[in-house]
C-alpha cells in the first residue's frame, strides 16, 4: 500500500470509507512525518494529543455509521492566524505570546464539525504581512524544495508567504491539507513556491470571524492542498454564510467537486496583456503560454483581454492594506491580552509593548497605514487608492463580459534563497504583483503547480474568476493540473 501520507485528501477519504486504514493510523503516520521534518520549521505548535483524540472520535463515528463526509478523519495543518480554542494562536507575533483563545474561528469549527483532525498550527509571516515567511517570531520556514542549479543551489529557500508554514507542510506531506489566508496573495504565492495548490475564494465566501484580522476588506481564508480536487473538498468544508461576520455573503455552498467535469469546451479564457511585464523570466512567460496551449487543446477559447490598471494594484494595495492594518492592530496594546512591557506610564507602556511586540515589517506597515489615514493625507492616499481599486474592479467586470476565467502566471519568479530580497521591502512586495489585483477586486483565484524551472523549482499558473465563480476557476485549474501532470516531489 502507498505510504499513508502520500494519499491526497480524496484518496484518503476513499481509503477510510473502505476500511483500508483507520483515521488514527492516518494521523499517527502524519505525526511521525512531522517529527522527521521539524527542520522545515513549518509547525510552531504541534497538537499530537488533540489530533489522536479527534482521529479516534472520527473512527468511532465511522464505526457507528455516522461519518461526516469527505473531511472526516483528515489530518490538517491550521495557519497560526486562525483562533483555535485552547491552542496557541499568535499570528506568529511576539505581541500575542502565549495567547490561547477561549473561542474557535468559524472556519476551523466548520472543519472540526466535518470531522477533520488538527495536527498543529503552522508558522506564518507576522500578522500575515510578508511573502517569504521570514518575519515569523518563530523563525523562517524552510521550503521543502531546493534548487538543483543556479546561484541558490543547495541553499535554504523561502516557501513564500504569508501562509509559508501551511504551504511547506502540504508540500512536505506533513499535512494532508492546510488552511491559509490570502490578503494580497498569501495563499497563492506560497502555493506556487511550494508546488502545491492554493485557492483564495471570493471575498465573503468564508467567514472571517475568529481569524486574526490584518486587512479587513481583503482577508480571505482558503485551502492549500496537493490537488485541485482536494481544494474543492476543503473549500466545501470551509465556506458558508456566518451571521457573526457582516461581510459574509449569504449564498449556498455547492459541492465544488462537481465542477471538476474535465470538460472545458467553449470555456473562454482571458489572457491579459498587462500581465506581460518587463523582467519576468522567460521560463515563466513560456509556462504561461504553455498553460494557454493546454487549455486551448482541451477546447477552451482564448480571448485577449485588457486589464489596464493592473500595475497600480500593488501600490494601491500598499496603501489600503496598511491603513486597515494600522487600525486592526491597535487592539494589541498590552492591556487585555498578549505581551505587556511595563513602561513609566500608560503611554510608555503602550509604546514599549508595541515596540517589543511587533517586528520591523509590521511596524513599517502600521506607520505607513497611520500616515496615509492622517489628517491632510487621507484624500491623497487612502481615498485615491480606494478609487483606483474601483477602477481595478471595473477592469475585471468588463473583462468578464468577454471571458469566463483569466489565466496569468502566479509569481514573477520561483522561490528564492533565504536572505535574498531582504534589503528592499518593495522587492519583497513585488512577489505579489500578479496575485494582488484579484485580491483588490475580491475575486476568486487559484494557483496550480504547472511545471518546474530549469533549477528544479516549482512554478505555478494562476486562474482568476468572476465573483462567486469558484466553480469555473476549479474546472479550469483541474484541466491545467491534468495537462501538466505535475508529479515532482521536493
Amino acid at each position: 500500500m502507498a505510504k499513508l501520507t502520500d494519499l491526497t485528501i480524496a484518496e484518503a477519504g476513499v481509503g477510510l470509507a473502505a476500511g483500508d486504514f483507520t483515521a488514527r493510523e492516518l494521523t499517527d503516520a502524519y505525526l511521525l512525518e512531522m517529527e522527521a521534518s521539524r527542520g522545515l520549521n513549518a509547525y510552531f505548535e504541534e497538537t499530537p494529543e488533540r489530533a489522536r483524540e479527534m482521529a479516534e472520535a472520527s473512527d468511532a463515528r465511522r464505526g457507528r455509521g455516522e461519518a461526516s463526509g469527505p473531511l472526516d478523519g483528515i489530518p490538517l495543518a491550521i495557519k497560526d492566524l486562525f483562533c483555535t480554542e485552547g491552542v496557541l494562536s499568535t499570528s506568529s507575533s511576539r505581541i500575542l505570546e502565549g495567547f490561547r483563545p477561549t473561542y474557535e474561528s468559524t472556519v476551523t469549527q466548520q472543519l472540526w464539525d466535518a470531522g477533520a483532525v488538527l495536527l498543529g498550527k503552522t508558522s506564518m509571516d507576522e500578522f500575515a504581512m510578508g511573502s517569504a515567511n521570514i518575519t515569523s517570531c518563530y523563525g523562517p520556514v524552510i521550503n521543502p524544495w531546493k534548487a538543483s542549479g543556479g546561484d541558490a543551489a543547495g541553499k535554504d529557500m523561502v516557501p513564500g508567504g504569508s501562509s509559508g508554514g501551511s504551504a511547506a507542510a502540504v508540500a512536505a506531506r506533513i499535512a494532508a491539507g492546510a488552511t491559509g489566508t490570502d490578503t494580497g496573495g498569501s495563499i497563492r504565492q506560497p502555493g506556487a513556491f511550494c508546488g502545491v495548490v492554493g485557492l483564495k475564494p471570493t471575498y465573503g465566501r468564508c467567514s472571517r470571524w475568529g481569524i486574526i484580522a490584518f486587512a479587513s476588506s481583503l482577508d480571505q481564508a482558503g485551502p492549500i492542498t496537493r490537488t485541485v480536487r482536494d481544494a474543492a473538498i476543503m473549500l466545501g468544508g470551509m465556506a458558508g454564510y456566518d451571521p457573526k461576520d457582516s461581510t459574509s455573503v449569504d449564498l449556498p455552498v455547492p459541492d465544488f467537486t462537481t465542477a471538476l467535469t474535465g470538460d472545458i469546451r467553449g470555456l473562454r479564457v482571458g489572457v491579459p496583456a498587462e500581465y506581460r511585464m518587463d523582467g519576468t523570466p522567460a521560463e515563466i512567460e513560456a509556462l504561461w503560454q504553455q498553460g494557454v496551449d493546454w487549455l486551448c487543446e482541451a477546447g477552451a477559447e482564448i480571448v485577449n483581454i485588457s486589464l489596464p490598471h493592473t500595475k497600480y494594484a500593488l501600490p494601491a494595495y500598499y496603501i489600503v492594506a496598511p491603513a486597515e492594518a494600522s487600525s486592526n492592530l491597535a487592539r494589541y496594546d498590552g492591556m487585555r491580552y498578549g505581551l505587556r512591557v511595563e513602561g513609566e506610564d500608560l503611554t510608555d507602556t503602550y509604546e514599549r509593548t508595541r515596540e517589543a511586540g511587533f517586528g520591523a515589517e509590521v511596524k513599517r506597515r502600521i506607520m505607513i497605514g497611520t500616515y496615509v489615514l492622517s489628517a491632510g493625507y487621507y484624500d491623497a492616499y487612502y481615498l485615491k487608492a480606494q478609487r483606483v481599486r474601483t477602477r481595478i474592479s471595473e477592469d475585471f467586470k468588463s473583462a468578464f463580459e468577454n471571458c469566463d476565467v483569466i489565466l496569468t502566471p502566479t509569481t514573477p519568479s520561483t522561490a528564492f534563497a533565504l536572505g535574498e530580497k531582504q534589503d528592499d521591502p518593495i522587492a519583497m512586495y513585488l512577489n505579489d504583483i500578479f496575485t494582488v489585483p484579484a485580491s483588490m477586486a475580491g475575486l476568486p483565484a487559484i494557483s496550480v503547480p504547472a511545471g518546474l524551472s530549469a533549477d528544479g523549482l516549482p512554478l505555478g499558473l494562476h486562474l482568476i474568476g468572476p465573483a462567486f465563480g469558484e466553480e469555473a476557476v476549479l474546472r479550469a485549474a483541474d484541466m491545467i493540473e491534468r495537462a501538466a501532470g505535475f508529479d515532482a516531489r521536493p
Partner: protein, 515 residues
C-alpha cells in the same frame, strides 16, 4: 469630508469648525455685563444619549446599567483577536425615531467610520462611530423658557456610536481598573448648532431634549446613571462681533450642572479677555463640588482620529417605507401635546408646558380630566396638578409613577368640589389626607365629616346667630364698612369648622346684613 491641512483640534469635529448659528440678534437679558462692556454667550451642545435597547450596538451583550464589572462583556466588546461587529437593528430604529422626533432629515444611506485613538477603556483602539455620513441630518427643537418666551435650537446631525468602558481610579493607588460593561453600548450623539445664548437656555434645551427622548422611548434620560451626558461648547463675544474661541466642557451629567458650568465658563472667558488675554481652545471638565471648570488635557496632544469607513461593516441603507412606518408610530410629542392642551383645555402655554414635560404626567392629567364619561374642568384640574400635586411630588422626591394619589383619586376629589360636597379650601386638607393615606377622597370626607354645609336653612340660622351676637360689627357694616363682611364670613366658617359653603355664606350675609 473635510481635508484640513492642520490636525483636528481636541474632540471638535472639523466639519463643525466655524459652524454658523441660526440665531441672529440677541436678547439683552442674556448678555453679561463685564468691565469693558457687555458680552454675549454662544453655546452649542453635543449630547450623548444611550439608546434604549436590550443589547449593545454591535454585540449581543446586555446594555443595562449596574452589573458586576465585566459581566456584560463579550469577546467582541473586549476586542479579542478576530472579533467582528454586527449591527443592532434597534439602534437604527431608535436613531431614526429620534431624528423624526427632532424634525430632522433621515439619511437613508449612512456609513460607520472608525475613530482611532488609544485609551484603556477603548478596547479596539478605535471607536466605531459615524463621521461623514451620519444617519440623521439637520433638525430643530423648540425650547420654552419659564417666562413664556421660546427659542429654536437647530440640530446639525445625529449619529450612532459605541460608548466606551469605565476607568476606575480609586481601587488601586498604583493602577487603573477597567470595566468594559459599558463598552459598545449604543449612543446617539445629538449635535446642536451654537444657537444657545445663556446658561438658562442651555439648561432648558437639555431638559426639552431629554423630555422628547423619553417621550419617544429612545433614551431613558437617566443622567445619574449616565444615560444622558452633555459636552457643552462655550464661547463669548461682543454682540455682533466675531465668534470667540470655544472651550468644550465634557461629560456634564446633570441639567443643573450644565447651567452652572456655562455660567462659570462664560465668566472665566470674559475675565481672561477683559484682562487682555486669549482663550486657549481646550477641553475642560466641570467640577460640581467647586462649581468650576478646569482644563482636562495638555495642549500639545492634539488628536488626529484618522477616520475611515469601517471595513468590517457595510453601508447602512434604509427603505423610505421603513422610515415612514416609524414616523407613523411616533407618539404625540410634547410640543403638539402642549398645543392641544392649550387648545382643547383652554390652558395657558405655560401650564400646558408644565403638564407635558413628562409623558407620564401628561397622561395622568388627561386621565384626571377625562374620566371615561363625564369630563372634569380641565383648568381646575391643571391648577391642582401644577400646584399642590407637583408640590407634594417634589417635596417627597417622587416620580409621578410613584404617586400615592392616582389620577382616578385626584379626579374623584375634583368631582366632590364640583358638586359642592366640599369646598376648595377643605379640599386642600382632603388632598393632604389622601396623600398620606392613599384613601379615596370620598372616604376621607365621610370619615372626617368634612362635607360642606350647603343647606340654606342651616347656614341661615348660623348667620342669624352671629349677626345677633355681634351687634357692633353689624352696625359697622350697615354704616358703610363693607370690609367687616370678611370678618363675619370668618366667624361663620369658624362656627362650622370651615365646612360652610363659602358662596352661600357670602350671599346670605349680604342679604341679611345689607338690609
Amino acid at each position: 469630508m473635510t481635508d484640513a491641512t492642520e490636525t483636528f483640534p481636541d474632540a471638535i469635529p472639523g466639519h463643525l469648525a466655524g459652524h454658523i448659528t441660526s440665531r441672529i440678534g440677541h436678547n439683552s437679558d442674556d448678555l453679561i455685563e463685564g468691565e469693558t462692556g457687555t458680552w454675549e454667550i454662544i453655546v452649542g451642545m453635543e449630547v450623548h444619549a444611550q439608546v434604549s435597547s436590550e443589547s449593545k450596538l454591535f454585540s449581543g451583550t446586555p446594555a443595562a446599567f449596574g452589573a458586576e464589572p465585566n459581566t456584560q462583556v463579550s469577546l467582541i466588546d473586549a476586542a479579542m483577536p478576530g472579533m467582528l461587529p454586527v449591527l443592532n437593528a434597534a439602534a437604527i430604529r431608535q436613531a431614526v425615531r429620534t431624528g423624526l422626533g427632532l424634525n430632522a432629515q433621515i439619511n437613508l444611506r449612512s456609513v460607520f467610520d472608525r475613530k482611532n485613538y488609544f485609551y484603556p477603556d477603548l478596547p479596539q483602539g478605535y471607536q466605531i462611530s459615524q463621521f461623514s455620513d451620519p444617519i440623521v441630518g439637520e433638525g430643530r427643537v423648540t425650547v420654552d423658557l419659564e417666562d413664556g418666551e421660546s427659542f429654536e435650537v437647530g440640530i446639525v446631525r445625529i449619529h450612532l456610536e459605541q460608548d466606551a468602558g469605565k476607568s476606575v481610579h480609586d481601587r488601586r493607588p498604583d493602577a487603573t481598573c477597567i470595566d468594559l460593561n459599558r463598552s459598545g453600548v449604543a449612543l446617539m450623539e445629538i449635535v446642536s448648532k451654537p444657537d444657545i445664548r445663556s446658561a438658562a437656555e442651555a439648561a432648558a434645551y437639555l431638559a426639552k431634549l431629554r423630555s422628547i427622548l423619553r417621550y419617544l422611548g429612545t433614551c431613558d434620560g437617566n443622567m445619574q446613571e449616565g444615560s444622558l451626558r452633555a459636552d457643552v461648547n462655550v464661547s463669548v463675544r461682543k454682540p455682533g462681533g466675531e465668534l470667540g474661541t470655544r472651550c468644550e466642557i465634557k461629560n456634564v451629567n446633570s441639567i443643573r450642572f450644565v447651567r452652572q458650568a456655562v455660567d462659570y465658563e462664560a465668566r472665566r472667558q470674559i475675565g481672561i479677555l477683559e484682562d487682555g488675554g486669549e482663550i486657549d481652545q481646550e477641553t475642560r471638565l466641570f467640577d460640581p463640588d467647586r462649581g468650576e471648570t478646569r482644563s482636562m488635557r495638555s495642549k500639545e496632544e492634539a488628536h488626529d482620529y484618522r477616520y475611515f469607513p469601517d471595513p468590517d461593516l457595510l453601508p447602512v441603507v434604509l427603505e423610505q417605507s421603513f422610515v415612514d412606518e416609524i414616523a407613523a408610530s411616533l407618539p404625540e410629542l410634547p410640543d403638539r401635546k402642549a398645543a392641544r392642551f392649550a387648545d382643547e383645555f383652554g390652558l395657558s402655554a405655560y401650564d400646558a408646558g408644565l403638564l407635558v414635560a413628562d409623558r407620564e404626567t401628561a397622561d395622568f392629567y388627561e386621565q384626571v380630566v377625562d374620566a371615561g364619561g363625564a369630563k372634569r374642568d380641565p383648568k381646575i384640574a391643571a391648577n391642582w396638578m401644577t400646584g399642590d400635586f407637583f408640590r407634594r411630588l417634589n417635596a417627597d422626591d417622587l416620580a409621578i409613577a410613584a404617586s400615592p394619589v392616582s389620577a382616578g383619586q385626584l379626579g374623584g376629589m375634583l368631582d366632590l368640589i364640583a358638586d359642592g360636597t366640599i369646598s376648595g379650601k377643605i379640599a386642600k386638607d382632603v388632598f393632604d389626607a389622601m396623600w398620606e393615606s392613599g384613601t379615596d377622597a370620598s372616604d376621607i370626607v365621610e370619615e372626617k365629616g368634612l362635607k360642606q354645609i350647603s343647606d340654606t336653612g342651616e347656614i341661615s340660622a348660623i348667620v342669624d346667630q352671629i349677626i345677633a351676637d355681634n351687634p357692633e360689627q353689624s352696625e359697622q357694616y350697615r354704616s358703610g364698612n363693607t370690609k367687616v363682611a370678611g370678618w363675619f364670613t370668618g366667624q361663620v366658617m369658624k362656627a362650622t369648622q370651615g365646612k360652610a359653603n363659602p358662596q352661600m355664606v357670602n350671599q346670605l350675609l349680604q342679604e341679611k346684613l345689607g338690609s
